[in-house]
Each structure stands twice: as structure tokens, then as C-alpha cells.
Amino acid sequence: MGSLFDIRLVFEYFPLIFSRFPITLLIVVVAIGAGLVLGLFIALVRMRKVLLLNQFAILYVSFVRGTPIIVQLFIIYYGFPLLLEQVGIDITQWEKIYFVLVTYGLNNAAFMSEIIRSAISSVPDGQREAAYSVGLSRWQALRRVILPQAFLNAFPVFGTRVVNTFESTSLAFTLGILDMVGQAQAIGSRTYHELEGYVVLAIIFIAISMILEKLFVHAEKRFIQQRR
């Protein structure tokens, strides 16, 4: 005999659910890392208006921004392997986590490219010109002068993006990745006590989001202090 909500179970479930945190962290870290690298590439393609690649990038970014990530997960996990099968490449049996990492990486790349693009254009032209005038190449100017300043400008938006990514990882369970959300549901269905698991999730997500936000605000302050 049980009741709908048992506070003791919250404590009991907590370690079980939190033990899946590394999976969530892995998704976030890979998504942000891949998103930054690929996003920078897309941003550059778009800013330099590289032929064909630019058009492709525009299409790609608006597709990713215009569809829910769950749709993208399904396309990558279910659809993409079927497409590859047509040309004789079989990846249907790959580990799910790879599909998830690819999806979140690609998804973040689109968002990051927009963040990076607007951050770069927020750096005054004179900075680039000055870099050229002292003999820096395009890439050196970007790396040494433009990106560090763009990074600072983008920092608050970047922080929001990280928190968003963290929250959206909960969708990975749809494919059967046993992350924290998956664990909560799994416990819920085997014990017939779902509510407690969701309470644990809420606590963890709120706590980590708050920690992330605090970290970003703190880091931002330190960056700015250096310059003042």
C-alpha cells in the first residue's frame, strides 16, 4: 500500500538519479564543444559569404532553429541511417549515444553560429583594421583580436545557451538514453512512484542551472575587471 507522494522516496531516489549526471554532462560538454568549433566555421562561412556553403549554412541554421530538437533527434537517429543504407553504409546498430551526441552537437552549432556571428559583428571594424595594419593575417586578426572581444560580448548569451542545452538533454531519453530523466522515469515505472523522481529532477535541474548561471556571472565579472 502506498500513497501518491512519499517524501522519503525523494531522498532514496536522489543518489540513483544523480548517478546518471555524467551522461547529461557528457552530452552538454560535447554539444557545446562541437557547437563552438562547427558554429565558428558556419559563422565564418556566412560572414565571408563563401559561395554555395553560405546558402547551405543559411538553410541549415534556419532548419535547426525552426524545428524542435526532438524532431532532429528522430531524423538523425531513425532517418539518417536509412538514408545511408541506400548507399550501402550500415550504421543502424551504432550506440545510441553517438546519435545523441551528433544531434546535440549539430543543433548547438547552428545556435552558436548565430551567437558567434552577432558577437563578431559587434566588434568595431577599426579593431580588425588595426590588426591588419600591424601585419596580422586574417586568421591571426580573428584569433588574437576579434574573437577574444567577441567572446566577451557573447558571454551572457553563451551562458544562456549552455543552460538551455543542459535542460534540453532531457529529450535524449526518448531514444532510450538513460540520463537523469530516463532514470527518474525508469524508477517511476518500476516502483509506480513517478512523482518523487520528478521532484528529484526538478531539484537537480534548478540547482545546476543556478550554479551555471552563477558561474557565468562570476566569470563575466572577472573578465571585465581585467580590462578596467
Binding site: P124, G126, Q127, E129, A130, A131, Y132, S133, V134, G135, L136, S137, R138, Q140, R144, V145, P148, Q149, L152, Q226, R227, R228
Partner: protein
């Protein structure tokens, strides 16, 4: 020695440079005068390819570059033999004063950091900022920022320093410190091409004056010739407007 031959430049339908020919000797200080919109700044910016001229030729030392089909390698080579001081200083906001000065040496020219730091210190000392090595641009006054800008240029030991209206953005009381630094630089025998409205600098420091109007060089000569005995009507008009008091002394 720097030579420009038949430089043309248009922004859309607006032709800004209509075939400029210019020769600057080593160690010479050249001042370009002219009403706004005459193409002075564009000409200056064409020299280090911040603008790409449509046609013409640039000879700098033993390097010869055709504007029409300059490769990025050539452009970089030209930029590494020139330096520029900007109207709005354009110091790298993410670097402090000494890093600003070192950047071109370390990143551009791959100089060891220790040596670059020594050169940067000397340059900053020369412009009177011995106590501001670690200061970030936002912590400096306009005059101080521009002096860092000049230090950044001289540290590169370029064939020529291009000055693009270096005092125009400054409060009047700060103009003097920048001009005196420029004067000191000129005395060291560094080739300078200066676009400015500071007539005292043009008169006292320049060895050669170029007067531009409507994308052409209208008249050139020594400061004495230009200021006391201008031949062209447009030069006279310009000088009358900008220097009314000189009317009396002529």
C-alpha cells in the same frame, strides 16, 4: 622609397581617386592636405590595402604590387612593411598598452616575446608612457591612447608610418602631446605620410606638402611654397578658408 602610380578608386559610382601619382623618399615627412571628401584618407588606406584600389601600382622598397590583382600574400607583405596610426586610435581593447605594441611583432613577425617586450618598452618610453605598460585602453585618455597607437606603429620599425588624422578625435587640450610625439618621431628620420588638419604641424615638420581635391593631386611642393605662394586657385581657396589669419602674413 614609396611610389604610387596611377591609383584609381571608386565606391560604386562615386570616383574617389582619379589617377594619383605620388613619390615619397626615405625619411621624408609628407603631409596631405585637402578639403574633406577629396580622397586623402582613401589614398592613405589604399597604401596598406585597408581599401583595395581598383587600378594602379604600388612600389615600396624593392616590392612592386599591382593593385588590380594583388594576392593576399602580397598584401600581407606590404602591411608588414607599413604601419598606421588611426583617427580613433583603434587600440586592441582586449590587450593592455604593452601587449598592443607587442602584438604585431610577436604574432605578425614571430619575434621572441622577450625581445618584443624590450622593443615595446622602448617605444612606450619614447612616447612618454613609461608608467602605463599595463594599462588597458579604457583606462587611458584619448591622448594617451593615441600615443600608444604611435608606439605600436614605431615598434614595428616600418618603411613608412601612415597617420590618418591622428588628432582629429582628440579634445583640443590633448592635441599638443600627440603632435609633439609625432614631431619627435619625425626627427628620428622615419618616413611618414600624414593626413591632418593641423597646419602648424604641416608647416613646421613636413618636408613636402601635397594638396588634394576631388580625387586629384592639385598641387605639391615644400611647405614654404604651398603656404606662402600657392599657385592653384583651389589651393588658395582652401588655405584662405582654413587659415584666415595667414592672409595677412602672405
Amino acid at each position: 622609397m614609396i611610389e604610387l602610380k596611377n591609383v584609381h578608386k571608386a565606391f560604386g559610382k562615386n570616383t574617389v581617386l582619379k589617377g594619383i601619382n605620388l613619390k615619397v623618399n626615405k625619411g621624408e615627412v609628407v603631409v596631405i592636405l585637402g578639403p574633406s571628401g577629396s580622397g586623402k584618407t582613401t589614398l592613405l588606406r589604399c597604401i596598406n590595402f585597408l581599401e583595395s584600389a581598383d587600378d594602379g601600382e604600388l612600389i615600396i622598397g624593392d616590392t612592386k604590387v599591382d593593385f588590380k590583382n594583388a594576392t593576399s600574400k602580397e598584401i600581407l607583405a606590404v602591411r608588414r612593411r607599413t604601419a598606421m596610426v588611426f583617427q580613433n586610435y583603434n587600440l586592441f581593447n582586449n590587450m593592455n598598452a604593452i601587449e598592443n605594441v607587442m602584438e604585431g611583432l610577436v604574432t605578425g613577425r614571430k619575434m621572441p616575446i622577450g625581445r618584443a617586450r624590450e622593443i615595446a618598452k622602448q617605444a612606450l618610453d619614447k612616447v612618454g608612457l613609461k608608467d602605463k605598460y599595463e594599462a588597458y585602453p579604457l583606462q587611458l585618455s584619448g591622448g594617451q591612447q593615441q600615443r600608444v597607437g604611435i608606439a605600436r606603429a614605431i615598434a614595428l620599425n616600418p618603411d613608412v608610418i601612415l597617420f590618418d588624422e591622428p588628432t582629429s578625435a582628440l579634445d583640443p587640450e590633448l592635441v599638443g602631446e600627440v603632435l609633439s610625439v609625432m614631431q619627435a618621431v619625425a626627427k628620428e628620420g622615419i618616413t611618414m605620410i600624414v593626413v591632418t588638419h593641423e597646419m602648424s604641424f604641416a608647416m613646421d615638420i613636413a618636408q613636402h606638402i601635397i594638396f588634394m581635391a576631388d580625387g586629384n593631386i592639385v598641387e605639391e611642393g615644400s611647405p614654404k611654397d604651398i603656404f606662402t605662394n600657392p599657385k592653384e586657385k583651389r589651393t588658395k581657396q582652401f588655405l584662405e578658408r582654413i587659415l584666415p589669419r595667414w592672409n595677412y602674413s602672405i
